[in-house]
């Protein structure tokens, strides 16, 4: 017979202010298996924990129910308490009578009291059937994979590398740097983006602990926390980077011109190219799709001119594998393609309606105009510039329902840049709200206003071309009247969205995406850089729209998590995972495809049954490193051979039974 102790916590007035905790404890004392029950103001406090320990010793309790807050908060705390009392940490069951009871039923005290007792009864029923569980250890490969070489990836890679672990940094573009390096200035300090990011790029490329793969993509991630094996496809560059010196002859002489991705389509590049002059690595790749040689079989100018003979049209994709213990996803963001849906803004047909990113390139000293603000259509200096915010953000009908978080600030920055570059210019900003939560942000916005930016609250209903000018027609909702501005240029603050290929990356990594397609963190508040797949962490805008300070902070956070994980050669595994009763397993293996963590695989056993000679057969085996204890296999197992430890059929049914009494 179990000897269960029940400890009802008041949580100050959180619980104690709604229900009568001593009464709940008294009710619990009548439940089967309960040998002791009590209540206390703060069970998680030092004296509270000591009380639990003392009760366990005095009343020879062999398991405990703590009725308090969410196990998310204090399960670990009380597990440790049990260990201090000499019990197995898994002999604990929590009843959440705060979030699940007093917080939500505070208005109906009678019902809350009944529910609290029900929840405790459930917990006792399960506790009575708990069994000690034991952690086991797996070895850890002390290397880290960082996917994405933007500022998040670079920061995470540098931090992990500085902690003394090897890092594999994989970037799909020909250069690292990501979106940040395309920007001109950064808010709220207006320091030069390239000036602060290119040194980081170089630091990453030259760090002895960082192995850099650019123009490469991950294809597969096998294994489990501490023991991943990643398959990387190094795309063919058609340039041997061992031989190439980055002298630049090839891209200077290449006859082909195509729009530059780096310049957001407003500048041009050659077919053999580096994305921008400070690219890392500073060596070119050939864009096979546009290369004249690949299209016609003729040209070969670059090959002929290359002083080191580095151009190699016969190069093929290279597939290689690396072993790592942890993964950081830092795949960044993409921008909402407004031209598909915003007919009122001209579907992208007016060249002087540009996106914020295009504007960045237009004002960038390293951009196609050398930093002079010239409008794309005729190269004239725009005197009146209109900014439209929330293009695709906060727009459930046409775009995305969330706020992209960075647009208010960069639009203020752009406004200041126009005012600075074009003396006497008029700048209008059409906005829904101005959101400036961040250190120095509000002050920055005020600066834009004080310097003469006209903020018009309201949406733009139409933009049309009238001669050389664009007519922006909108409404000022504060004044309640229509507004019409004749503009030389319109800049749209397009929404931040998941990067292209985010869904595929999530699939490869075995992590979830949220409803908007961003990677899902394990807990929005308490585990913001972790995923539900152990050993895979998140950094930057792949998780949600973020500005640079937040991105860098999260990247460092992820790096700290990785460094913590890799700090030991051994890792203890969660014992609350699937277990196969081999005697019951029929070996149908329907569980194998069900497991998203690929934790189940056939395993040979020799079985001895009375009346039969020993026989060999295959059953399902659980890889304790991979299994996350999700229970999908448990459901798929027809023979009832798979159970999740800590959540066995018996325990769960006992809980249901207890709740239905």
């Amino acid at each position: 017979m179990p000897r269960t102790g029940v400890f009802v916590c008041w949580c100050g007035s959180n619980i104690g202010g709604v229900i009568d905790c001593p009464e709940t404890a008294a009710a619990a004392s009548g439940f089967p298996g309960v040998a002791f029950s009590t209540d206390y103001k703060y069970m998680c406090s030092e004296p509270g924990q000591n009380m639990v320990i003392q009760a366990i010793r005095e009343h020879r309790l062999d398991r405990a129910v703590v009725a308090s807050c969410s196990p998310r908060l204090h399960e670990e705390t009380f597990r440790k308490t049990l260990v201090r009392a000499g019990l197995n940490p898994y002999m604990l069951e929590m009843a959440n009578i705060r979030e699940h009871c007093t917080w939500v039923h505070g208005a109906d005290i009678q019902q809350a009291r009944i529910k609290a007792v029900d929840l405790v009864r459930r917990a006792v029923a399960k506790a009575n059937r708990l069994e000690p569980l034991f952690e086991s250890e797996i070895s850890v490969t002390r290397r880290c994979l960082v996917i994405g070489g933007g500022v998040a990836g670079i920061q995470a890679a540098l931090d992990v590398a500085d902690a003394g672990h090897e890092v594999i940094l994989v970037e799909r573009e020909p250069t690292i740097g990501g979106n940040m390096v395309k920007l001109d200035k950064t808010f709220p300090t207006l320091d030069c983006s390239a000036c602060i990011s290119t040194p980081k790029m170089v630091a990453a490329a030259t760090h002895p602990n960082i192995k850099l793969y650019t123009y490469a993509e991950i294809e597969k991630l096998a294994g489990y926390v501490g023991n991943f094996e990643v398959t990387i496809r190094q795309k063919a560059r058609y340039v041997d980077h061992e031989k190439c010196t980055g002298c630049g002859t090839c891209w200077e002489k290449c006859p082909t011109r195509v729009p530059s991705e780096f310049d957001a389509g407003i500048g041009q590049r050659t077919a053999i190219y580096i994305p921008f002059p400070q690219a890392v690595p500073n060596k070119p790749v050939i864009d096979r799709e546009h290369c004249r040689y690949f299209a016609t079989g003729k040209c070969e100018i670059c090959a002929k001119l290359c002083p080191t003979g580095a151009v190699d049209y016969g190069q093929e994709d290279l597939v290689l594998t690396e072993k790592v213990g942890a993964v950081v996803a830092a795949t960044g963001f993409g921008l909402f393609d407004w031209s598909r849906v915003y007919g009122e803004y001209g579907y992208g047909q007016y060249p002087d309606v540009v996106t914020g990113m295009q504007f960045e390139r237009l004002v960038n000293a390293a951009g196609p105009t050398g930093g002079k603000l010239l409008r794309p259509s005729d190269g004239a200096t725009p005197r009146t510039v209109v900014f439209i915010k929330c293009v695709g953000s906060r727009d459930e009908a046409k775009g995305r329902r969330y706020c992209s978080r960075i647009c208010c600030m960069y639009t203020a920055k752009h406004a200041l840049q126009v005012l600075e570059k074009v003396p006497g210019a008029s700048v209008f900003v059409f906005y829904m709200d101005v959101r400036t939560a961040g250190k120095g942000y509000e002050e920055f916005y005020q600066r834009a206003v004080n310097n003469g930016t006209v903020y018009v609250r309201g949406r733009v209903s139409k933009i049309y071309q009238d001669g050389e000018r664009l007519v922006v027609r909108g409404v000022d909702t504060l004044l309640g009247r229509p507004v019409e501005v004749d503009a030389d240029m319109v800049v749209l603050a397009t929404a931040v969205e998941p990067g292209s290929g985010a869904a595929e990356t999530a699939r490869i990594l075995g992590i979830n995406t949220d409803q908007d397609g961003f990677f899902q963190e394990a807990h929005p508040k308490l585990r913001p850089v972790e995923t539900h797949t152990r050993g895979v962490f998140l950094a930057g805008a792949c998780q949600a729209p973020k500005d640079i300070p937040d991105t860098v902070a999260q990247a460092s956070g992820a790096a700290a998590k990785v460094a913590g994980l890799l700090s030991s050669k051994w890792l203890s595994t969660n014992p609350m995972i699937a277990t196969v009763n081999e005697a019951l397993c029929t070996g149908c293996f329907l569980c194998v495809p069900v497991c998203s963590y690929r934790a189940l695989e056939p395993k040979k056993i020799t079985e001895r049954l009375p009346g039969h000679p020993p026989r060999e057969r295959e059953v399902a085996g659980v890889n304790t490193g991979l299994c996350q204890g999700c229970g999908a296999c448990n459901v798929a197992c027809r023979a009832g051979a798979i159970e999740v430890r800590g959540f066995t059929n018996e325990q769960l049914l006992a809980e249901v039974d207890a709740l239905c009494q």
Binding site: A125, P610, G611, Q661
Partner: protein
């Protein structure tokens, strides 16, 4: 032994007369299946349905029987079910009467089973002769016959449009007295003669010739015979033969706990054909394979019951022969046993 005659059209009146005084259990037909149930009116009784599919042992030894309810809320309390009322069990065929005889020493011998004994003592058993012989019948092999009333308190034998009613025990006599209006003593003598003729006539209709001679001696030495293994190959291990057998009596005791310190203890039929029949707590099972289980069943029918009680463990009702999905036929087994070296 006294006797009466009842005309066929008065039977339902007689049954309703019983119903006014006692609960009545009688064969009932539902979706082509005949079984014994408590009835509320005479018209429910399937008088001419022949041998029931489920034997009437269900009355004395129900498939599930609550032994007691318990509650441990404030000290242990046990509530036993109320005793059985005086009941009439009507329409029991001769083979099933023999079946009761085979069960009696099990539940009322060295170990007195109050649940069984209580119902047995308070029940008046009314036998009913068979009017036909099924292809699977072989009660003759066990010295019974389609009109044999052994074991009945009152035996009804159908003779055309009337029944000969033999009063075989004081219980039977009381039932006749209770409903005396329905019976007459006229024609009893002729009816008794007619019954003898009928007995001879029915005796000639048996298809299965089953000769039990020397079978017991043979099986005494057959425990290790490979024959059982061969026989078991096709056995599916279902419980049809044992559940439909009028003499099978294995049961299992189960506690159903509600999880709130109350519950009940019950016994349920068990079957030696089931894999967990003799499974020990240790995980060991002395009858681990079908071979041992099939052997156990046939040795029980042909040997153990005889050894223990001097009574055959089979009454020749033929239900297992008719219903076995894979045609394991005890009459064939008996024949084959003789052939085994």
């Amino acid at each position: 032994m006294s006797a009466r005659v009842i005309s066929r059209d008065r039977i339902s009146g007689f049954l309703d007369c019983i119903l006014r005084k006692y609960p009545l259990v009688a064969p009932v037909e539902e979706d082509g299946v005949v079984a014994y149930r408590r009835v509320a009116a005479a018209r429910e009784v399937a008088l001419d349905a022949g041998l029931s599919d489920v034997p009437p042992k269900t009355h004395f030894f129900p498939q599930t029987e609550v032994l007691f309810h318990y509650s441990n809320l404030s000290g242990l309390e046990i509530v036993e079910p109320a005793g059985a009322p005086e009941t009439v069990l009507f329409g029991v065929r001769p083979c099933d009467l023999r079946g009761f005889a085979a069960l009696d020493p099990v539940f009322g011998g060295r170990f007195k089973d109050v649940y069984y004994r209580d119902k047995r003592e308070k029940t008046t058993v009314v036998g009913l002769s068979c009017t036909s012989v099924l292809p699977t019948c072989f009660c003759r092999a066990y010295g019974s016959s389609p009109v044999d009333g052994t074991g009945a308190d009152l035996m009804f034998t159908r003779l055309g449009e009337r029944y000969l009613v033999e009063v075989r025990t004081p219980k039977g006599a009381r039932l006749v007295e209770d409903c005396a209006d329905f019976f007459t003593e006229d024609g009893v003598r002729e009816a008794a003669r007619e019954k003898e003729v009928l007995a001879r006539e029915l005796d000639g209709r048996f298809v299965r010739r089953v000769d039990l001679d020397s079978v017991k001696e043979k099986v005494d030495g057959m425990f290790e015979s490979p024959y059982w293994g061969k026989l078991a190959q096709r056995c599916l291990g279902c419980g049809i033969c044992t559940f439909l057998c009028p003499t099978c009596h294995c049961f299992d005791i189960v506690d159903e706990d509600r999880g709130d310190r109350t519950g009940c203890r019950l016994r349920c039929w068990d079957s030696c054909m089931f894999t967990d029949f003799t499974l020990h707590t240790s995980g060991h099972n002395p009858r681990a394979t079908k071979t041992e289980r099939v052997r156990n069943r046939f040795l029980h029918k042909l040997k153990y019951h005889l050894d223990r009680y001097g009574l055959a463990g089979c009454v020749g009702c033929g239900r297992c022969v008719a219903k076995c999905p894979v045609n394991i036929d005890i009459t064939r087994v008996i024949a084959e046993i003789k052939e085994v070296d």
